[in-house]
Amino acid sequence: MPVKAIKPGYHGEFRDRVENFRGQQLLNICWEKHTMFGWPMCIPVPPEMPFGALLEQVLPGIYGAHPDFARIKWNEVQWSSAKGPFTPDPSKSMVEHGFKHKTQIRFRTPGLDGHNGAG
């Protein structure tokens, strides 16, 4: 059902279109079960950044403080997005993985379900 407005045809501008991010795009990342971090993270990334850089350079800075992080076996991690599970390729870029601006990706680390069950 469309919005009812005083003026017919009203439409707000898209305030967060990708052109506004000066060459970067937003990526949302969620480590499932790890609620201690409080929220899925939102970061700007270059669209051509390889997935390997995300794993090696970005994720440790975000999640490294968690006792589970050092124990992650990266080859066993289950990745997914709203479209379903996917298998990342470290050499391929964000765009090559089909990640659009504001895509959310999630990873699950079975067996590592939060410190003492508390996220």
Binding site: G12, E32, T35, G38, W39, M41, C42, H115
Partner: protein, 532 residues
């Protein structure tokens, strides 16, 4: 007339006659302007009103009675505030943590009173019926009075504590204060009928008892006479506003059956938006009051499930059902304050008040009040964080959150049936992805995507480079965008946020009062041991 010493004045008007003159006698039918030109926003929402005369103001308040009551309340309130100031009442509150709750109130809530004042002024202009117009105008004055009395009452604290000096600036710019701000801006930018259902009914009638009852008794319990006084002074207005809320609903539903689905949609939307806003209050009640009155879970049980349940049972005869997703609020009541305090703690360097971990005594209280969740999910987290604090490496989250496009909270919430799984809800609209904290917020977006695509989301604005102070140079080699964003928001690192045990409010409190800043944790300075 002969001066015979027997002059009889005309009989004084009864209250009923006085009210009739004010609300009917002042109205007129326009002749040289078309009615639809004068009341231009009254039709587009689709609400049908056949007879504005059917409006019954339950209070029938007249101007002279209004000024008299309000004037008396003001005199009383300012006498108490005066006495509070002269007696250094700010040092009689339980401990310095209580003051942090006042900061959240001043920076986050007072601006809502003012926004509400604006909204009701608009209704006072837009409604064709004189009765509701007068009621809206009086409420506009009330809301302005609430904002000013709250500012005056809390201004005294500003002389002694950090973080209160620039509350309008913070309200407009601080990342988490976009949550209350956007709530009212959404309401004000709706049509007049949606606004009054949103604010008078869904917010005032269904939800604000939660703010005024437990919160004000919390202030009394923690020794804050000043806040209690403005609370009580406002409460008698709130009673009138609530009655207006129920009258509005009944009036709209009785005017035309076509109004029922519109009103139901607004009740669903604004109940959910109001509930999400109140999560701030849940946190204040459970974590920021050193002496607790009741838990958020208990308050929600009494004020929503029991009182709200009776209300919606009564409205069933109009074809109105309880708000959609009310069941989710009941599932969330066992965890929402814990989830929220956890995020304030872990991002404490980017908030406008210092935070602390709950003490052993407080955790025991949580175990008792939250038997199904606290020991299982949150106690181990806080114990882990305490160990880290003692090692000197407190847990910190430095990454900005994914925000909900509608309520603007970070997506902190967990699945209604599983507190260990984050909620993931998204939709694609015209090729762009939008994220939500809940099904409630997703529904609101999908009903009116045209409106919410231009929400001003603080995280995205920071990343776009729109939240830097004037004169900042993003190309400078040492430029740090997050530090610049905090400056823009008016949050001073090292002064406003951080750990309570290291905060200047805490050390000053101990110097001035010789009492611990946190009554459960013992003194942090030598000042408490002083004997003079």
């Amino acid at each position: 007339m002969a001066a015979d010493g027997d002059l009889k004045p005309i009989k004084k008007l009864s209250l009923k006659e006085n009210y009739a003159l004010l609300t009917r006698g002042l109205g007129w039918e326009p002749t040289y302007e078309k009615k639809e030109e004068i009341f231009r926003t009254i039709d587009f929402e689709g609400i049908k009103i056949h007879d504005w005369e059917k409006w019954e103001d339950p209070f029938r308040l007249t101007m002279d009675a209004y000024w008299k009551y309000q004037g008396e309340k003001e005199r009383k309130l300012y006498a108490i505030i005066d006495a509070f100031q002269q007696n250094n009442g700010q040092f009689n509150v339980t401990d310095a943590r209580y003051v942090q709750a006042l900061k959240l109130f001043l920076n986050g809530i007072v601006g809502l009173e003012y926004a509400s004042h604006r909204g009701f002024n608009i209704l006072g202009r837009e409604f064709p019926g004189v009765g509701p117009r007068i009621a809206a105008q009086m409420q506009a004055i009330d809301e302005l009075r609430h904002a000013t009395t709250q500012i005056h009452a809390i201004s005294h604290y500003n002389r002694f504590f950090e973080g209160m000096a620039d509350f309008p600036h913070q309200f407009d710019r601080v990342w988490y204060l976009s949550i209350p701000k956007s709530f009212f801006e959404d309401a004000v930018s709706s049509g007049p009928f949606e606004f009054i259902v949103a604010i008078s009914f869904a917010f005032e009638y269904v939800l604000t008892n939660l703010a005024f009852m437990p919160w004000m008794s919390g202030a009394a319990f923690n020794g804050d006479m000043s806040t209690v006084s403005f609370g009580f002074s406002a409460q008698s207005d709130e009673a009138r506003h609530m009655t207006l809320g129920i009258e509005v609903i009944k009036f709209l539903l009785e005017q035309d059956p076509d109004n029922v689905p519109l009103v139901q949609k607004w009740i669903d939307k604004w109940f959910w938006r109001g509930y999400r806003l109140l999560a701030l209050l849940a946190t204040m009640m459970d974590y920021m009051l050193p002496k607790r009155v009741m838990s958020w879970s208990e308050a929600w049980t009494i004020y929503y499930e029991e009182n709200g349940g009776a209300l919606f049972a009564d409205l069933a005869r109009y074809g109105i059902r309880p708000p959609k997703y009310a069941d989710v609020t009941i599932k969330e009541k066992q965890r929402v304050s814990h989830e929220m305090w956890s995020i304030f703690y872990s991002v404490r360097n980017a908030v406008g008040f210092p935070v602390w971990l709950p003490s052993a005594e407080e955790m025991d209280w949580f175990s008792e009040k939250y038997p199904d969740t606290f020991d299982r999910y949150y106690r181990p987290r806080f114990e882990h964080w305490r160990e880290l604090e003692e090692k000197g490496t407190p847990f910190t989250n430095m990454t900005l959150p994914q925000l909900c496009q509608v309520c603007q909270w970070p997506c902190i919430y967990t699945e209604p049936d599983d507190p260990t799984e984050f909620v993931h809800r998204e939709t694609e609209y015209q090729g762009e992805t939008f994220h939500f904290c809940s099904d409630g917020c997703k529904d609101i977006f999908c009903n009116e995507p045209e409106k919410y695509v231009h929400a001003w989301l603080p995280v995205h604005q920071i990343y776009q480079g729109n939240c830097f102070p004037e004169g900042a140079d993003p190309t400078a080699p040492d430029f740090n965008p997050l530090v610049a964003a905090l400056q823009y928001m008016g949050i001073k690192p090292g002064v406003d946020g951080g750990l309570m045990s290291q905060h200047v409010d805490a050390s000053r409190w101990e110097q001035w009062t010789s009492r611990p800043a946190n009554l459960h944790e013992g003194a942090i300075t030598q000042a408490v041991r002083k004997t003079t």
